[in-house]
Amino acid sequence: MGVIHGEEMVLNIGPQHPSTHGVLRLKVKTDGEIISEITPVIGYLHRCFEKHCENMTYDQVIPYTDRCDYLAAMANNFGYVVAVEELMELKVPEKVEYIRVIMAEFQRIASHLLALGVYGLDIGAFTPFLFMLRDRERILDMFEMTCGARLLYNYMWIGGVSHDLPKGFVETAFQFLDYFEPQIEEYNELLTYNKIFIERTADIGVLPPDVAISYGVSGPNLRASGVKWDLRRNAPYSIYNKFEFDVCIGEGGKGTLGDCWDRYYVRMLEVKESVKILRQALAQIPKEGDVHQALPKKIRPPKGSIYSRTETPRGDLGFYIVSDGSPIPTRVKMRSPAFTALSVLGELAGGWMMSDVISILGSLDIVLGEIDR
């Protein structure tokens, strides 16, 4: 087939655009509908997170981590406190570990639901988005029940959590899980196996595993490329080694391994695994116990540095913390999974069509708050 080349046009997708998931700007060179080059321009949401951290005590940093990945704030709290505790060589009570895992997994479901729903929206399906938000709402209700906040929790503290689980939480959680599990089938029928949806996502934006690793892509995006790597399994932190669950990887179910559909479907599968972990954790959680370790008012980790990683809904969240023994961190570096995921976009999206770029961008599930910090 002969291709007629016209003049190239530079198009700015964003910073204000419905599908950039925040204030991201994509500088796109197009020849008609075909994209020849794509350059992400970030920094519109830069709030000097790392500079702020150098001016406040260790526990004051926690609310700021909330605001980085605002769609998975619990997971960010978790990543940060795990890093600081590792630096302090602090062991927290078992009950705290259970509460943290429960919260992190609920957060994973909530975050994935939003990611899947918004992905449907990017492709043009409005209804699955609202169905998923409806169920996410119930998780947020449970968070509200626990700590009073629905989006930015400041729930996990160094050495513990801010509140114990409220009365009736475990029952509510079980009720939700019983309600939620059949819903996954509904999503699948409505969106996952929809012919148009498959047409739009399968074979699009294929990310080979070696490229993914070289770009530091992690989490569901990496697993969708067929790499069986999950920090909860490969480098267990907290008490993840106590639970039975599968690490879901993409299998190229509807097209090539590592395409957009795989990235979407891995998230759907992970939601199921999270439900599995939650059922175990909710059944095993100790009834009695303190939820906060006795710590001095000013936390002074020993001199040294630590790089600690946790598995958030978006991938490996790393905190590189340098302490000089004072109550204020010398350096806090947040290695954000969405940052690395977005960096691969230029490599992935060249040569596809306009609509595919939106589809690829959506499948990477980025949060600009975390990318720009």
Binding site: F126, I196, R200
Partner: protein, 357 residues
């Protein structure tokens, strides 16, 4: 024929002016006013219906009134009225770099395309403004006027998104005219008339005589026609010209206030027209599905409207269920699937009539 009836009625009312040109103009203007009202009311009702349908499909309640005071009425029935008032009172913004004349012209061109087509729509046994002898041909013809408006809107906004939207819609609408027209040819082959009333007359005598059930080929033709009109009215899954997640708003990105609402008026008017054509061509028009029952003049309006509403409901159902296709997939479906099938249909219907007719 309404204009003729009105003309002679006015003549008998004012015998002094009987047969004069003034009366003819008045006789033409009255149905125009009525039609404008129909279009406006249609848009208001359909927007409300669309919202409620969407809401119920999405497990929501949709627009609702809220307590005492200024609010949108019980169950939010006045929501679209309030929206229309808001749109009317909004500032009229024309981008500085836009081609002002074309920018202002575009919504009207689109609206005229939809509006003029309604003239030939038979809403009942006697409720039709003008029953041309080329009725269906006329509707298809003026219906595609709208695409000029879309391109104008896309071009004159001087916005890259609008340009994308305009180009996409031009490609899409022009392509889908073809399978739609070919499916209508199937109907014309059976009825041997282009008049809307004539086509409906052919289908009298109950559901069995409807063209959709006439033979297997017409059955397929109906679905091809329905898919094509979805594309022509830019409805999901073919809403790529406005694809909000890709093109922000497509051709109407730069429009706001009343100008923007003209796009909406004409979108819903278009839906009304194409559903009416589908109902006329394939579903027996204003005929009752049960021969001999509910077949009076009043019922004819009811049957026609309920068929239109049913088709529009299906369109809404699609919109809230399906994702959107990509532009090349859309073209593939048109040229590689629908077009060959509709060509085969024409042959099929020809042979079928030859053998069984």
């Amino acid at each position: 024929m309404t204009v003729d009836t009105l003309f002679s009625w006015l003549g008998s009312l004012i015998p002094a002016m009987e047969g004069s040109g003034t009366l003819l103009v008045i006789a033409i203007l009255i149905p125009c006013l009525v039609l404008f009202l129909v279009v406006a009311v249609n848009a208001i009702i359909m927007v409300y219906a669309e919202r409620k349908v969407a809401a119920f499909m999405q497990d929501r309640v949709g627009p609702m009134g809220q307590g005492v005071g200024l609010h949108a009425g019980k169950w939010g029935v006045l929501q679209t009225v309030a929206d229309a008032l808001k749109l009317l009172s909004k500032e009229d913004i024309i981008p500085e770099k836009a081609d002002k004349f074309l920018f202002i012209l575009a919504p009207f061109v689109i609206f005229i395309g939809a509006f003029v087509a309604i003239i030939a729509v038979p809403f009942g046994e006697t409720v039709i403004v003008a029953d041309f002898n080329i009725g269906i041909f006329y509707i298809l013809g003026v219906g595609s006027l709208g695409v000029i408006g879309l391109i104008l809107a896309g071009w004159s906004s001087n916005n890259k998104w609008s340009l994308y939207g305009g180009m996409r819609s031009a490609a899409q609408i022009v392509s889908y005219e073809i399978p739609a027209g070919l499916s209508i040819i199937v109907v014309i082959m059976l009825t041997s008339t282009l008049s809307m009333q004539g086509i409906i007359e052919y289908q009298s005598g109950g559901m069995g005589n409807w063209i959709i059930f006439a033979n297997p080929f017409t059955f397929i033709a109906f679905f091809i026609f329905f898919i094509s009109i979805l594309a022509e009215t830019n409805r999901t899954p073919f809403d790529i010209p406005e694809a909000e997640s890709e093109l922000v708003g497509g051709f109407h990105t730069e429009y706001s206030g009343m100008r923007w609402s003209f796009f909406f008026l004409s979108e819903y008017a278009n839906m009304l027209v194409v559903s009416a054509v589908a109902a006329t061509g394939f579903l027996g028009g204003w005929h009752s599905p049960f021969p001999g029952y509910f077949d009076s003049n009043g019922w004819s309006v009811f049957w026609m409207l309920s068929k239109i509403v049913f088709l529009i409901f299906i369109m809404m159902w699609f919109r809230w269920t399906f994702p959107r296709l990509r532009v090349d997939q859309l073209m593939n479906i048109c040229w590689k699937v629908l077009l060959p099938i509709s060509l085969i249909n024409i042959f099929g219907v020809g042979f079928w009539t030859l053998i069984f007719g």
